[in-house]
């Protein structure tokens, strides 16, 4: 490992230990259910509903600090690479895998980087809704997750339901307001077989039923 890489991983761990975790656990408050369902070793895909920028941080905080360098969230390249500061924050500090959302150029597989993560035996965070929508309203899942899961049928996909982060920091807002947030981890499933995306949607919705909802008035 290069010194640059070691420094980057150390910075990521410090960032989570000193800022992200205290913020999520003390200022916000996470109610995590069934954490034991997360596989101890990779490769694994975490598939969650998407309400807020905090979703990625919350999912990454489910793992021990030492594992942070091995967790990568799939994120839109056009959004997160739009300037060098954001790019440094997203790619170097958080370790996201940027994906081109627009037309595929030159025949290169836009998901190649995501498959690399899984082939290295690491964890991939995917938000099958694509982007953050109306806070606390689930949108239909896109097909990308089905494509990844079908190509790596042995990799477990863990459905996860997140509630509250859209209240804390909805799309378009920059000021977080504290609410207790729910993270419900589902039973791992695999991408082989028909109708995987529909099954995954159903699994996430079933997890939503485990927590009471009190959203907007």
């Amino acid at each position: 490992m290069s010194i640059r890489l070691v420094a980057r991983n150390a910075l990521r761990i410090i960032f989570f230990a000193a800022i992200v975790r205290p913020f999520l656990l003390v200022a916000i408050g996470l109610a995590i259910r069934h954490r034991e369902r997360l596989p101890k070793h990779g490769p694994v895909i975490l598939a969650a509903n998407h309400n807020s920028h905090l979703d990625t941080l919350a999912l990454m905080s489910l793992f021990p600090l030492a594992q942070l360098p091995k967790i990568h969230a799939v994120a839109a390249a056009d959004y997160f690479l739009r300037n060098r500061w954001l790019k440094w924050f997203a790619v170097d500090l958080l370790g996201i895998v940027p994906i081109e959302r627009s037309a595929v150029k030159g025949g290169r597989d836009p998901l190649a980087a995501a498959f690399d993560v899984l082939d290295r035996g690491e964890a991939l965070i995917v938000f099958p809704e694509g982007s953050r929508g109306e806070p606390e309203m689930r949108q239909a899942f896109k097909r990308g997750i089905g494509y990844i899961a079908r190509r790596r049928p042995d990799v477990p996909v863990v459905p996860i339901f997140l509630r509250g982060f859209g209240r804390v920091l909805p799309k378009g807002d920059h000021l977080p307001v504290p609410f207790v947030c729910d993270v419900v981890v589902g039973e791992p499933m695999t991408g082989s077989g028909e109708g995987f995306v529909a099954r995954l949607e159903a699994a996430v919705d079933a997890l939503a039923g485990e927590t009471p909802s009190a959203d907007w008035m």
Partner: protein, 323 residues
């Protein structure tokens, strides 16, 4: 013979308070041993009941440990601890009630009331302490709301937000103010003794009511709100708490045994009211617990429901008659 007062002097708390804390730890240890040594339960429902009991006692250890540590560390640590409890309770309340999107910034103003209210507590500014939430926040919050321009659901939002501030911040801050209320001439540890007495009486009443209700409960008091509340449970809690307060008041506070009995009866009744009022709120919202932060108990608000009523009543009684 001199060892105990010497240790007590170096820690800064009077011997009766240290002795009481020590007895609580002994009692908790006994309860822990009892639950853990109980033979393994037969069927699944008994096993889950025992696991629940273990979780509940584990949470008691955490709560007693944190409170005892704050008390030993002194006045500032205790006030900060209660400020944090108020923050957690307010956050829990805002989480379980429906809020308006337009009120996001207003909620931040409401959270700001926590450090401000506890600043009055820390600086013993009684006049501000007692009017800040009911007067100033009562006026500021709806003004902030109206400046956001959203009128739909205005009254409901204004009412529920302020109710949350009153229970989670205003009422609970009275417990912390007990540490600040005695005049400088009062013997050291007076405030800590009053606070400890309030907490013991309130929590003991909860437990006594629960045990008496489980053992002898027949006649439901509020079948629609809280079916577990019975006349027998209430009277059992009242009797036990009155008795305990008679003994404990002269030990921990300037309150005599007879007045202690009256105050004990008042705390038992007020605790009961706080309990059922919070139950009614939960029933209205369609939830069983206000949170999951205290395994075996639920949320912070589930635990401090009685204190919301007992703390202000006890505080003002003590202030009126003794200081």
């Amino acid at each position: 013979m001199n060892a105990l007062p010497d240790i007590a002097g170096s820690i800064g708390l009077p011997a009766p308070i240290l002795l009481t804390l020590f007895l609580i730890l002994i009692g908790l240890a006994a309860a822990t041993a009892l639950v853990w040594l109980k033979p393994a339960a037969g069927d699944a429902s008994a096993a889950s009941k025992q696991a629940e009991l273990k979780a509940r006692i584990g949470s008691w250890w955490a709560m007693v440990g944190i409170f005892a540590a704050a008390l030993l560390l002194g006045r500032v640590a205790t006030v900060v601890l209660f400020a944090f409890i108020s923050y957690l309770a307010l956050k829990e309340y805002f989480t379980i009630i429906p809020t308006r999107k337009a009120d996001r910034v207003v909620l931040l103003f409401a959270y700001l009331a926590v450090p401000i209210q506890y600043w009055w507590v820390g600086t013993s500014w009684y006049g501000m302490f007692v009017i800040f939430v009911p007067v100033y926040m009562f006026l500021i919050l709806p003004t902030a709301m109206v400046l956001r321009g959203e009128t739909s659901g205005f009254l409901k939002a204004a009412g529920t937000l302020h109710w949350g501030l009153m229970i989670a911040v205003f009422a609970i801050s009275h417990a912390a103010y007990l540490i600040a209320v005695p005049p400088p001439a009062a013997p050291p540890g007076t405030g800590a003794g009053l606070l400890l007495f309030l907490l013991i009486a309130t929590e003991f009443n909860d437990v006594a009511q629960f045990v008496a209700g489980k053992s002898f409960g027949r006649h439901k008091i509020t079948p629609k709100v809280s079916p577990n509340k019975t006349v027998e449970g209430f009277i059992g809690g009242l009797a036990a708490t009155t008795l305990l307060a008679t003994v404990l008041a002269p030990l921990l506070t300037p309150i005599g045994p007879l007045q202690g009995a009256l105050i004990g009866a008042m705390l038992a009744s007020a605790g009961f009211c706080g309990d059922i009022v919070m139950s009614a709120m939960k029933r209205d919202l369609g939830i069983k617990d206000t949170g999951t932060i205290l395994p075996g108990h639920g949320g912070i608000l589930d635990r401090i429901d009685s204190l919301v009523f007992t703390a202000p009543l006890f505080f003002h009684t003590v202030r009126y008659f003794y200081f």
